[in-house]
Amino acid sequence: MSWQIEALKKSVWVFHVNTGACNNCDIEIVNLLTPKFDVERFGIKLVGSPRHADALLVTGAVTAQAAPRLREVYRQTPKPCVVFCIGACACGTGIFETGYHIVGPVDKIIKEIDPDAIIAYVPGCPPKPEAMISGIVKALSAI
């Protein structure tokens, strides 16, 4: 499995999934993918279909309505893949922990269908684009 992971680190195509976020993280992700930060340098590219994705950028604390979609998107992403939990909500539900409509956080939902999933956490509320790049690069080199 190792050469696949090595190649994965150099060419990461990302797909963005919003599971009920306040949009701050999502806006910072869009910021990330504008030419200013030039993530193509790292082999990162935004794709519009999970089937082309190597990494899922997941925001939000996972509401009950969004959970089935998150599971489906993960299933449709060819393995090996990395799930990045972007922001405090995705990492651990953050301030919405006691919400009755919240079934997350993201790793709980993902681990139910794939206990061996590779999950990385980029905390912040929201994490700045530089923090996201740093988080992604660090996570990739640690895999």
């Binding site: 150099k10 030419p35 089937r51 393995k79």
Partner: protein, 321 residues
Amino acid sequence: MGAVLEGKGKEMSTPLNILFWIVVVPGTIVLGLVASWIARKVSALVQWRVGPPLLQPLYDVMKLMGKEILVPQEAQRTVFMMAPLVGLAGVLLLSIMLWRITVAQTAFVGDIIVAIYLMVLPSLALILGSSASASPHAAVGTSREMKLVMGYELPLVLAFIVVVIKTGGRLNLAAIAQHTTVLSISGMLAFLVALLCVQAKLGFVPFDIAESETEVASGIIIEYSGALLAGWKLMQTTMLVALPLFLVMVFLGGFGTTGWALAAGIGKYVLVLVLIILIKNTNPRVRIDQAMKFFWVYCGIALVVAIILAAIGSSCGINWL
């Protein structure tokens, strides 16, 4: 195919033969990856960005090879899985054919027709593959791609006919390559049309209607993943070798194998590549109906003019027409 390739012409000694096969097939693929990198790097620089490292296209392909292949449940399995291989095979065969004509001088009468057939294979494969994927997203792209193919295939063939007329009606690539048909009015017209048809075939801006670089979701290969997607990517990158090379042989006087001719050949290939990349970076994407109008009307008119001029020039011996 082997028999055809070994047809008339200079026999290569066996060690050279083996060397050819070992070097050319992977070499073409590698050259395609490098050409693809050049295109991406230039795009990045134009946007004041740094862009990807040299090995990025290789990393992309390797990464894809290591991923799962997900096949949609309702898809036509066999066609779905064979389509990228068919496309890639077509391009590789075309490259091999062109290299052998250059190196081993194995041209034969009618080889230009075979080359045109092989050139159509990638587009057909894309259409087949996306139809087989049973995806509504892909379906939208498929119909666009089909329209686009209907748009440019005819002008492309007509452009080659111009050259055939100019070079005295011989359907032999080696013979055609002796002439530099671009240095004439009809030749220049035909070359420009053919260049734009190649741009469309490569799926580059301004004709990236069916699959755009940043919006892959609306692309016709949306359902593909893993090694199959790698196949498509390799097909696209290898086309960056085969198609410009084809143009060089038909319009720009061919590719030599030794000394000055070799350097000139490389220069001509680079020139065509640069033209393709320039067109890509200085134009916005056009709509499908605009593209159709462009190919059928403007290119059609240009080619009719070119054919008439070529016919006159050929029969009256006026080369610059």
